[in-house]
Assembly symmetry: C2
Amino acid sequence: MDDTIGRVFEIPPRSGVAFTLDRGRMLTVIDPQGEQVADLLAFVRDDTAEVISSGRTLDYASRLFLTTGDPIYSNRSNVLLRIVADTVGRHDFLLTPCSAETFRIIYGDEHPHRGCFGNLAAALSAYGITPDQIPIAFNVFMNVRVDGETGALAVAPPLSRAGDHASFLAETDLVIGLTACSALQSNNFSFKPIHYRID
Amino acid sequence: MDDTIGRVFEIPPRSGVAFTLDRGRMLTVIDPQGEQVADLLAFVRDDTAEVISSGRTLDYASRLFLTTGDPIYSNRSNVLLRIVADTVGRHDFLLTPCSAETFRIIYGDEHPHRGCFGNLAAALSAYGITPDQIPIAFNVFMNVRVDGETGALAVAPPLSRAGDHASFLAETDLVIGLTACSALQSNNFSFKPIHYRID
């Protein structure tokens, strides 16, 4: 019996994990305190060159904002995950995981944190996945405001409150990368944990 | 002397090419008839795992729509191209190149064209670049309308008129992929050529 099933795991603030998710299993990402973002990646376990693709997914959905019922497609146009529950309804699929370069370029940090990108790269290396394979993440609970006329993007506090969650059904055997996001702006300027559960 | 400099090349309708672009050279993409899209990719020539990234670029610009003066960043946060001229001001950096799957999923084609994706994959294979390395393209002249409230995306006719162009300065030695787009919707339902020039 797999003792990871149904158990709640905590990802500490500004860190990340990687784990396998079998086809038919459901991953639930929970915001335990509210206003915290989790960057989510999914790779096909048998061939990690296949990975979630924002460009394919948004094109097929003809919509920037995804929620319950929406599939998340790979770069090869296969459905890897399907959103099956969502108590928030606002996530981002435009921006890459925050990284040392993000903090250097956007925040002007001289000694930047490695960010979600560095956390994902470190966690995914156990599965033979290299940093260059990390695409735009599905940024759970991230609230990016879009001005349709000017195209201006603004990162606003997440709409998630304590206990809010989103659930993703695996359509094939996957390797998952998941973080408690490290960027101040994304999380209303307070770093918090993320919880997750596999059912 | 390089006889490709200053010469206008034609990309026939629904096809694509790949070529090298040296650091300091300027690529000008021209719409000879108007209302035609060109999918543009750029890879670092010495290490083609480094490629343009919409996620990095849009994040650093804090804007969906790019134009003169804007840099196009790589997945490693280096500037690969800089937009130095633009007579249209409306391009897309959200959607992946159209592909056989695009035509199957969105248009319901039973025997789909290989699309810009297939054209780019074929042309880039001469440089050792594989289909899985093809990211979201910078879709020159593509006019994707965005509803900031609902997130709805709608592909509208390009704003380009005959002779309109956009120019890109290479910040490092690059391999370029470029197409005359194969998707009906993107080009106001008429397939046309694209011209380009290197100066």
